[in-house]
Symmetry: C2
Subunit: 191 residues, 2 copies
Amino acid sequence: MKELQDKILRDGKTIGTEIVKVDMFLNHMLDIKLMDDMGEEIKRLFNEENPNKILTVEASGIPIAVSASRAFGYIPVVFAKKTKPSTMIDDAYTAEARSFTKGTTSVLRVAKDFLGEGDRILIIDDFLAAGQAGMALCDIVEQAGGKVVGFCAAIEKKHQGGADLLRSRGIPVKNLAIIDHIEDGRIIFED
Amino acid sequence: MKELQDKILRDGKTIGTEIVKVDMFLNHMLDIKLMDDMGEEIKRLFNEENPNKILTVEASGIPIAVSASRAFGYIPVVFAKKTKPSTMIDDAYTAEARSFTKGTTSVLRVAKDFLGEGDRILIIDDFLAAGQAGMALCDIVEQAGGKVVGFCAAIEKKHQGGADLLRSRGIPVKNLAIIDHIEDGRIIFED
């Protein structure tokens, strides 16, 4: 998606060869026009998979999922939680995910009320790196008896292998901007 | 806002006299059509305050802020973080907030790049209870030299006093659904 690539090149900052900081529009301050354009593109990419629900993970996946929901005619969004709120009933699907950026492991958690058999789930996230969060979200959908009909990240860091990992599980993966690698601080997109 | 009140009565669950669980549409699964209608109502309520930016806090404030941004013609959204990501530069405004629901204290954090002098900030959150998160967000805006031109929560729990606390600071507060109290498990809205 050219608009997103241009934005990454203009406002993103690289740290070493592994991290792209997009706090200016995707992770801390949010460009909502861009979110809506991304939502429309996600609808175009996954229309044939006919999802009935979107699953994402707090916090930066949420705005993209909101815009995609609207594009799909307001299908529900469920976001996995990383902490266990005191008002959440214990009855939840859980899976562990290691965060590449933070170097920590979180337990992702979705209340059983909100996923179930027959659900056709489109998973949306801000980044796809090693694929740990994506795999954990797939585990959660499978525990619920649902089907993952697609996975879409705004930004894939290809050399970290997450897309291959998800595809080896049979998941259709289509991401909006695919970074091949980072070289001397420059971001090189896949052709 | 009648649509939101009806939704709270239909799908919300009370726990004791203090907690309303709205996981079904606002805090865990999200009803995006409702978010957009709330966004339009927020625009109507705060149009004259002419905000140039929305400030909220992760995670449940984000979807409401996204919809409100669109209603205001795509003004930027900034969300305060509750944890310190390893890729965030240390240069941040911070303020402490106690969470009523979780019984914990978090440090809210906004990178200095995203707030500044001249900013006219509309603060949006899912709940207004004792007002601790709202006060912390106001502190952050003031540290940055900006002005809080309004505060809007989806749901105010009036008897917990947060709206009075914010108003005593001179902030215009207008919330979408105001719960007067909870009685025998029934939610009583303010007239």
